[in-house]
C-alpha cells in the first residue's frame, strides 16, 4: 500500500509540467547550423502568422484526413519497424499513425486493393515511440552540415567544413589535424583501398581460404602472388586478407535496403570484410540458438538455419515469456500486444512471464516468475525434468526422425531427438553416421526396437530413450542426453539455482503441456545477454521441441516472411546481386574473428587464443574497437561509425571511448549520424545523415506477423541535411551520398556511371532503392506482380509529394531509376507503403499459413564439435546450465557485491535513442530510476527518492570515464517498489547521455547550450563487468557472442 499515492504524482506530472523543467536558459539560436536552415524557419513563421488571422473552419474538412496529405513509410524508433502513415501539413510532418494496410498494425489489415482515399481516414495503431518520431525528425539538435573536430576527440569542439573538403580529406588523408598540434599522418581511404583488381581479388580470396584450412602453404601463396604481396595486411598471414579490411564499418542500426547497399559498397566495391551491425548488444545469442536448432544437414554439410521464431499469439492458449514480454521492447508491442490482450480478456490465453522485474507484461500474467538473472536454463531444465518424468512430451512427434515420418503423422517439422550421438571420453560428440556401423552412408542413425536404422528418405521413427554400444561405439539418443542433463539435478536443486519455487515450476510445466500444440516458449533479450546466453536459449527452444509446437496453430512460427527485394528469386527486373560490374571479392578473417575457426587460421598457436574466436556468431559489436586496440588479428586504419554509439550502448562502453580517444590506435574515425551522439562525439568528422522519415529502406517483418509483407520506407519530407553534389547530381547529405562521393573519388566499381551495368547508373540513392522496390512490385514468382497505379493514383502520388524539393523528389529521375516499365507498379506500392498479403479465411483456420517445414535440432552437432578458443575444451551439443564465466571459461565470483544488475526498456524508450530527446515522452518519464525491491532498499538504508551511486568490481569509483571531458558520476534515483526480485536492481535504458544534445557543443567558436532535459537519468553500462582476461571489453557468450549485460554484481552507495 506504499504505492497508494503514486498515481497522483503521475497526474501532477501530466497535468502541469513543473516550471523548473522549462527553465529559461536563454540559449543561442543557431538555425543555420543545427536544426535545419533559417529559410525553412522563416517560411513556417510566415505561414503561422497568416494562419493566425484566418482561423475559420477549414473548407473540405480536416486536412489530415485527406490522402494527398499522407505518405506511408516505416518507423525505426525501434527495430520492430512498424509501417506508418506520416501526415503532412503545410510541408511539415506533423502526425504519425500506423499503416492500416499492414498486418503488423491492424488485424485483419485493409486489403491491398483498398483505395488510398479510404485508407487515409483509417489510422492503425502504433506505439508512443512511433508517434514521437516527429520529435526525432525535427530534433533541434540535429546536424545538417559536415563537422570536423576542432579539439581532441571527445572535446565536442567542431568546425563546419564543406562536404567536398571532408570527402577529400578522408579519402586522401594527410596531416589533417596539424593545426591542432597533432603531427600525425592520417592514412586516407586511398591508402587502405589497396586491392583494386577484381580478378586478382577472386584468385587471392580462394587461395587465402586454402591457406587458412591448411590446404595451401603460406610460402606457396607468397610465391604465387609475389608481385602483389603489398595488398595484404601481412603476407605471412594471407588469411587476414587485404589492407582494404582495415576500413571497418560499425553500424548501430541499419536495416534491409540500406544494409544490402552498405554491404555491396564495403564488400564488393571497397573489398573489406569488416561490416558490423549491433546484434550482439541486442539479442544475438537468441538468434544463434535458433540458427543452431534449425540448421539443415545436406550433402555432408550443415547449412544455414532460421534466426527467429515467435508464438502464433493470435491462437495460442499458453505462452511463457522468458526475459521479455509483449508490451515493452521485444519484436514488438504494436503487433504482439492486441493478440495477447484479446486472448487474456476472452479467456483463450494464459501467460507466464519470467523476469526479475514485474514488467508491464508480467502485470497481465497468470504467473510472474521473478527468476535469478542468468538462470533461465535452470528453470527450463527443471520444467524439462518434470515434463519427461511425467511423460508430458509429444512422444509421437519426437520419435519422427525425418521429413517423411513427420508427414506420415500429420506433422510439418521433425527433430533429431532420436538420432544417435557418439559418446566420447570428453562427452557427447558427433552424431553417428550409418557408414560408421556399416549400414549406409552419411545418413544419421536411430535405433528402432533395439536395432540401428539409417535415416534415409523413407519414413523412419526411432526409440526416444536409448543408450548403448553399437559396433563398439558408445551412443545415446539426443533425447537421452537432454534427459540426463535435466535429471542431473533434482527439482529442488534446480529451484535453488533459479530461485523459482518448485510448485511454480511444476505449475508452469503442467500448463505448458496442457494445451497440445497451442503453446509457446518465447524469449528475447533477457535470457541471452549473459555469458551462458546461447545455452539458455537452447534450453528454451528444447521446451518447444518437446511439445512439437512448430508450425502449428497457436504454436511457434517463423512468420509470414516477405517478398525479396534483391530480385534473386524472379531474377528480374533487377537481379541486383549480379549487377555489380568489376566487383571485388572480399576475403580474410574479420576483425572480430567471427564466422572463422581459430583452428582454421594461420594464427593458430594452441590454446588459449589471444582473444576469443566466434565461429557461430556474427555482428560482434563489443569486440570491434577492443580488437582494433589489441591489433588482433590486425590493427585497423579507419573506422566509420554509423547511427551507433558503442561507447554508450555497449556494456563497459567506457573502454571503447578510451580507445577511440587515442588517435594513435585508430587514426581515422568518421561518422554518419543525425546528431552529435555520445560516441560520434569522439569522431574526427561527422557527416549529417537523413533521418528515418527522410530516407529509403525495405525492412523485414517480425515473425509475429503471420502474413507475408514487404515494408517500404520512403522519404516523407525534403531532408533537412545540406544539399551536396555527387557525380554531378544534387542530393542531400546522407550515408548514401557519402558512399557515392567516396566511390566517385576512388572510382570504386559498382558506383557511378553504369554502376549497375550498361545504361544503369548509380549516382543517387534512388538508383538503388527504386530498383529494390521494383523487384518487390514484381514479386518472387511469375504472376505475383502488383497492378499498375491508376491514373488517379498517379496523380495522388504527385500531389502527396508537392511539398518536396526537386533534390528530394524528382519524378522523372525516379522513373528512370525504377525503370519505365516498372514505374506505375512502384507507385502502386509507394501509395501503400509496401505490399501486403491479404487476410483470408485460411489464416483464420490454420493460424500458421506460411510454414517452416524443416527439421529441428535438439542436439547441435556443430556446437558440440567446436572447442572454446581460449579454454580448449569442446562446447556442449545439448542445452546445459552453467554460471557466468569470463573469456577463459572461468566462473566469475563477485559475491562481495550484494546486488545483481539488470536493465530493461520502458515502452517509451529505445536503447540509446528516443527518450529523453523525444519531449512528449520525456514529459511522461523525465528520468529513469534504480529500481529495487522496497525491502532490499530498506535493508541497505535506502529509501524511495534517494540518490545512489552504482559501484561494481570493475568500476569501484562509480564514474563513467569520458576521455577529454568531465567524467559522469554513475548516480541515479532510487525507486523502491514491490515488483522487483530482492537482491536485483534494474536500471532502464534511454537515459544518462553526455552527447545527443545533453551537453554544450562548440561549433565555429559559438557555444550551443546543451539541454538539461537530455542529460537526466543514468545509463548503467559503465558499471558492467570488464572481462578479467580481455581487460578492455565486457564479458561475452563464447557461442552466441551476446555481450553480457546481466552478469554484473553491484553495490549501491548513497550520495
Amino acid at each position: 500500500m506504499a504505492e497508494r499515492n503514486k498515481s497522483c504524482k503521475i497526474a501532477e506530472m501530466l497535468g502541469s509540467i513543473p516550471s523548473k523543467e522549462v527553465t529559461r536558459r536563454g540559449l543561442l539560436k543557431t538555425g543555420a547550423l543545427l536544426g535545419g536552415s533559417a529559410l525553412i524557419m522563416g517560411k513556417v513563421e510566415r505561414a503561422m502568422n497568416m494562419l493566425a488571422t484566418a482561423e475559420a473552419a477549414t473548407p473540405g474538412g480536416y486536412p489530415l484526413a485527406r490522402a494527398e496529405n499522407v505518405i506511408y513509410s516505416v518507423c525505426l524508433q525501434c527495430h520492430t519497424a512498424c509501417p506508418i502513415k506520416v501526415k503532412i501539413l503545410d510541408g511539415v510532418a506533423v502526425k504519425i499513425d500506423g499503416n492500416p494496410y499492414s498486418a503488423q498494425n491492424m488485424i485483419p489489415n485493409l486489403k491491398q486493393d483498398t483505395s488510398p482515399w479510404v485508407a487515409s481516414k483509417i489510422d492503425a495503431k502504433v506505439c508512443p515511440k512511433g508517434q514521437a518520431g516527429i520529435q526525432s525528425l525535427y530534433d533541434p539538435y540535429r546536424i545538417v552540415r559536415v563537422l570536423k573536430r576542432k579539439g581532441p576527440r571527445g572535446s565536442n569542439r567542431w568546425e563546419v567544413i564543406p562536404f567536398d573538403q571532408a570527402i577529400d580529406e578522408i579519402v586522401n588523408g594527410g596531416y589533417l589535424f596539424r593545426h591542432l598540434g597533432e603531427n600525425r599522418y592520417v592514412p586516407g581511404l586511398k591508402d587502405i583501398y589497396k586491392l583494386r583488381d577484381s580478378k586478382l581479388s577472386k584468385a587471392m580470396a580462394k587461395d587465402a581460404k586454402a591457406v587458412a584450412k591448411g590446404k595451401m602453404s603460406v610460402s606457396d601463396f607468397k610465391k604465387k602472388y609475389r608481385d602483389h604481396l603489398d595488398v595484404l595486411i601481412d603476407p605471412d598471414h594471407p588469411d587476414l586478407g587485404p589492407v582494404n579490411n582495415q576500413l571497418v564499418l560499425q553500424y548501430g542500426r541499419i536495416e534491409h535496403g540500406r544494409k544490402e547497399l552498405a554491404k555491396r559498397w564495403l564488400g564488393g566495391s571497397f573489398c573489406s570484410v569488416n561490416f558490423y551491425e549491433h546484434t550482439t548488444i541486442c539479442e544475438q545469442s537468441h538468434h544463434i540458438a535458433y540458427n543452431e536448432a534449425t540448421r539443415q544437414y545436406s550433402k555432408g554439410k550443415w547449412g544455414k538455419g532460421k534466426h527467429h521464431m515467435k508464438p502464433d499469439a493470435l491462437n495460442s492458449e499458453f505462452i511463457i515469456f522468458f526475459g521479455t514480454g509483449f508490451v515493452e521492447a521485444n519484436f514488438g508491442p504494436p503487433p504482439m500486444c492486441e493478440k495477447i490482450t484479446e486472448g487474456l480478456q476472452t479467456g483463450r490465453l494464459k501467460i507466464a512471464v519470467v523476469d526479475p522485474r514485474m514488467s508491464k507484461s508480467a502485470a497481465k500474467a497468470w504467473k510472474w516468475l521473478p527468476i535469478k538473472p542468468g538462470t533461465d536454463a535452470a528453470l527450463a531444465l527443471a520444467m524439462i525434468r518434470w515434463i519427461i518424468e511425467n511423460k508430458r512430451y509429444d512422444e509421437r512427434y519426437l520419435r519422427a526422425a525425418n521429413k517423411a515420418a513427420a508427414k506420415a503423422i500429420g506433422e510439418y517439422t521433425w527433430s533429431n531427438s532420436t538420432h544417435l550421438v557418439r559418446i566420447e571420453p570428453d562427452g557427447p560428440g558427433k552424431l553417428l553416421r550409418a557408414s560408421e556401423i556399416g549400414i549406409g552412408g552419411d545418413q544419421f542413425v536411430v535405433v528402432k526396437d533395439g536395432k540401428p536404422v539409417a535415416v534415409g528418405k523413407e519414413p523412419v521413427t526411432g526409440d526416444l530413450d536409448y543408450s548403448g554400444t553399437i559396433k563398439g561405439i558408445k551412443v545415446k539418443t539426443a533425447f537421452t542426453i537432454l534427459k540426463e542433463e535435466a535429471f542431473s539435478r533434482s527439482l529442488s536443486e534446480w529451484s535453488d539455482i533459479c530461485g523459482i519455487p518448485e510448485n511454480d515450476i511444476i505449475d508452469v510445466a503442467r500448463e505448458f503441456t496442457s494445451h497440445g500444440k497451442k503453446v509457446g516458449a518465447e524469449m528475447y533479450r533477457g535470457p541471452v545477454q549473459h555469458t551462458n546466453g546461447y545455452y539458455n536459449g537452447q534450453a528454451i527452444i528444447a521446451l518447444n521441441i518437446l511439445v512439437g509446437n512448430i508450425d502449428h496453430k497457436g504454436g511457434m512460427t517463423t512468420g509470414g516472411g516477405h517478398w525479396h527485394e534483391m530480385g534473386n528469386k524472379l531474377k528480374r527486373p533487377f537481379n541486383l546481386k549480379k549487377m555489380h560490374p568489376g566487383k571485388l571479392h572480399k576475403f580474410g578473417h574479420k576483425l572480430t574473428r567471427e564466422k572463422s575457426r581459430y583452428e582454421e587460421s594461420t594464427l593458430f598457436d594452441g590454446y588459449p587464443a589471444k582473444r576469443p574466436w566466434y565461429p557461430f556468431s556474427g555482428n560482434i559489436y563489443q569486440e570491434i574497437i577492443p580488437s582494433a586496440a589489441d591489433g588482433y588479428p590486425y590493427p585497423i586504419k579507419a573506422l566509420w561509425i554509423h547511427k551507433g554509439t558503442p561507447g554508450l550502448a555497449t556494456p563497459a562502453g567506457q573502454t571503447a571511448l578510451k580507445i577511440l580517444a587515442n588517435p594513435d590506435i585508430i587514426p581515422l574515425v568518421f561518422a554518419t549520424d543525425i546528431v552529435i551522439g555520445d560516441t560520434t562525439m569522439y569522431a574526427d568528422y561527422i557527416f549529417p545523415d537523413t533521418a528515418v522519415w527522410e530516407r529509403w529502406g525495405t525492412p523485414h517483418t517480425t515473425p509475429d506477423v503471420a502474413q507475408k509483407a514487404s515494408k517500404v520506407r520512403q522519404p516523407t519530407i525534403t531532408p533537412l541535411t545540406e544539399v551536396v553534389t555527387v557525380y554531378g547530381e544534387k542530393q542531400h547529405c546522407s550515408m548514401e551520398a557519402v558512399m557515392l562521393a567516396i566511390g566517385e573519388r576512388l572510382n570504386l566499381p559498382g558506383c557511378g556511371k553504369n554502376g549497375f551495368g550498361d545504361g544503369l547508373d548509380f549516382t543517387t540513392r534512388e538508383d538503388w532503392f527504386l530498383k529494390l522496390i521494383a523487384n518487390l512490385a514484381w514479386g518472387d514468382r511469375k504472376g505475383q506482380e502488383v497492378p499498375d497505379a491508376s491514373r488517379s493514383e498517379m496523380k495522388l502520388f504527385m500531389e502527396a509529394r508537392r511539398h518536396m524539393a526537386k533534390t528530394a523528389f524528382d519524378p522523372a529521375r525516379w522513373e528512370k531509376a525504377a525503370g519505365k516499365e516498372n514505374w506505375r507498379k512502384v507507385i502502386y506500392l509507394l501509395n501503400r507503403g509496401g505490399r501486403w498479403e491479404d487476410w483470408s479465411e485460411k489464416f483464420e483456420r490454420e493460424g500458421v499459413v506460411h510454414k517452416y517445414k524443416k527439421g529441428m535440432n535438439l542436439y547441435a552437432e556443430t556446437v558440440a564439435m567446436q572447442k572454446h578458443s581460449m579454454a580448449g575444451k569442446r562446447f556442449s551439443g545439448i542445452a546445459i546450465y552453467e554460471p557466468a564465466k569470463d573469456a577463459a571459461g572461468r566462473v566469475i565470483d563477485d559475491r562481495e557485491f550484494p546486488l545483481q544488475l539488470i536493465t530493461y526498456k520502458d515502452i517509451l524508450g529505445g536503447q540509446s535513442r528516443t527518450l529523453p530527446n523525444n519531449y512528449w515522452m520525456s514529459a511522461i518519464l523525465p528520468e529513469n530510476y534504480i529500481l529495487i525491491n522496497a525491502e532490499t532498499a530498506a535493508e541497505m538504508g535506502l529509501k524511495d527518492g534517494d540518490k545512489a551511486k552504482l559501484v561494481s568490481p570493475t568500476n569501484r569509483d562509480g564514474l563513467w570515464e569520458l576521455p577529454n571531458r568531465a567524467n559522469k558520476p554513475m548516480v541515479g534515483r532510487i525507486k523502491a517498489v514491490e515488483g522487483m526480485r530482492p537482491g536485483v536492481v534494474a536500471v532502464s535504458w534511454h537515459f544518462g547521455h553526455w552527447g545527443y544534445g545533453a551537453s554544450d557543443t562548440e561549433i565555429d567558436g559559438q557555444v550551443i547550450k546543451g539541454d538539461r532535459r537530455r542529460a537526466t537519468g543514468l545509463c548503467p553500462n559503465a558499471a558492467m563487468r570488464i572481462d578479467p582476461v580481455l581487460k578492455n571489453a565486457c564479458m561475452t557468450d563464447p557461442i552466441g557472442a551476446s555481450s553480457s549485460f546481466y552478469d554484473t554484481r553491484v553495490k549501491l552507495v548513497k550520495v
Binding site: 497508494r4 498515481s7 503521475i10 501530466l14 502541469s16 509540467i17 522549462v22 540559449l27 539560436k29 543557431t30 535545419g36 524557419m41 503561422m48 494562419l51 493566425a52 475559420a56 477549414t58 474538412g61 480536416y62 501539413l89 506533423v94 502526425k95 499513425d97 491492424m106 488485424i107 485483419p108 483509417i122 489510422d123 492503425a124 506505439c127 508512443p128 508517434q131 514521437a132 520529435q135 525535427y138 533541434p140 508490451v327 508491442p333 480478456q345 479467456g347 514485474m358 507484461s361 508480467a362 502485470a363 497481465k364 500474467a365 521473478p370 483464420e844 517509451l908 519531449y919 512528449w920 515522452m921 514529459a923 511522461i924 525491491n933 522496497a934 525491502e935 514491490e978 550551443i1008 539541454d1011
Partner: protein, 258 residues
C-alpha cells in the same frame, strides 16, 4: 479476432455521421483489462492536439497493489468524461456565461476565448472537475529554449471546428474534445485508433448496432465517481486481477479510491 474492431467502429461512425448532430450520442468505452500502460494514447493525443508542453488530455495512472511476490500492477487510463451533468460547465459559466457548453451529441466544449478572458472561470472549472481532465495552456514550447523552435509545435491544429495555433490557445484551459475534428471527418479519436492493447472503443451510444452500445449492454460497465451525479459518457469495463483477468475486483480500486 476476424472482425477488425477499428474497421467496425469506422462503419459505426459513418452511420452516425449520416444522422443530424442532435441524434448522435458519442460515447467511449475503456476496457481496463486490456490497458497495458504503454501511453500510446497519451502521446497520440499530445501530437494530434498539440497539447501544451508537459500535458496531455489523457492520463494513464499506474499503481502496485500488495507486496512481493504476490503483487498486482495496474494501469488506469482516462480523459474528459464528457459528463451529461458537467460540474466544470456549471462552475465556469457562473463566472463567464457560455465559457463551457454542451453539444447535442454529448461533447463538452470549451470556448477558449471566453475562458481565456476569465481566470476565475478557469479556476472554477479546474476545481470542479473530479477527473484530472483539464490542463492549463500557459504558452511555451518544448523546443523554445533549444537551437530551434520546431514546426510541429507552431503548426495549426483543429479543435471544435476551429483552426487553432498555440498562439491562440495560450492563456486558456484545455481538455479532451473526443477529437471532434476527426469524428466529423469520419475518423476515430486518436487515442482509440492507436491503442495497442485495444482497450479503447468509441461510437454512437444511441445506435444499438454500434460496438460501444453492444459493449455497454453486454459487459458489466461502470463509470468513474458515478455517485457525484456527473453522468459521464465514458464507460469502463472490468478491473484486472492478475490471477484472473476476466474477473473484475472492486477491491483493487481501493488502491486509489478509499
Amino acid at each position: 479476432m476476424a472482425v477488425n474492431e477499428i474497421v467496425r467502429m469506422h462503419e459505426d461512425l459513418q452511420r452516425a455521421l449520416k444522422k443530424p448532430v442532435e441524434k448522435r450520442s458519442w460515447g467511449m468505452v475503456i476496457d481496463v483489462r486490456r490497458c497495458v500502460g504503454d501511453h500510446a494514447c497519451t502521446v497520440a493525443c499530445m501530437a494530434e492536439n498539440v497539447c501544451p508542453p508537459g500535458t496531455s488530455y489523457r492520463w494513464v495512472f499506474e499503481s502496485e497493489y500488495k507486496n512481493y511476490p504476490e503483487l498486482d500492477r495496474f494501469f488506469m487510463p482516462g480523459n474528459c468524461q464528457h459528463c451529461d451533468n458537467p460540474p466544470c460547465m456549471k462552475a465556469a459559466n457562473s463566472h463567464r456565461k457560455g465559457a463551457i457548453v454542451k453539444r447535442p451529441d454529448g461533447i463538452v466544449v470549451f470556448n477558449y476565448d471566453r475562458l481565456a478572458g476569465s481566470s476565475s472561470a478557469r479556476r472554477a472549472a479546474k476545481k470542479a472537475c473530479p477527473y484530472y481532465a483539464i490542463v492549463d495552456d500557459n504558452g511555451g514550447y518544448y523546443t523554445e529554449d533549444t537551437p530551434k523552435l520546431e514546426p510541429y509545435e507552431t503548426r495549426v491544429f483543429y479543435e471544435y471546428d476551429r483552426k487553432l495555433s498555440r498562439k491562440k490557445t495560450k492563456g486558456t484551459i484545455r481538455k479532451c474534445h473526443f477529437c471532434v475534428h476527426r469524428l466529423e471527418s469520419g475518423m476515430l479519436p486518436a487515442c482509440v485508433s492507436t491503442c495497442i492493447g485495444r482497450a479503447m472503443y468509441f461510437g454512437d451510444l444511441s445506435d444499438p448496432g454500434s460496438l460501444v452500445s453492444e459493449l455497454v449492454k453486454k459487459e458489466k460497465v461502470w463509470r468513474l465517481k458515478e455517485a457525484e451525479g456527473t453522468k459521464p459518457r465514458v464507460y469502463y469495463i472490468g478491473f484486472k486481477d492478475r490471477t484472473n483477468i476476466a474477473v473484475s475486483t472492486s477491491a483493487t480500486c481501493q488502491v486509489c479510491h478509499q
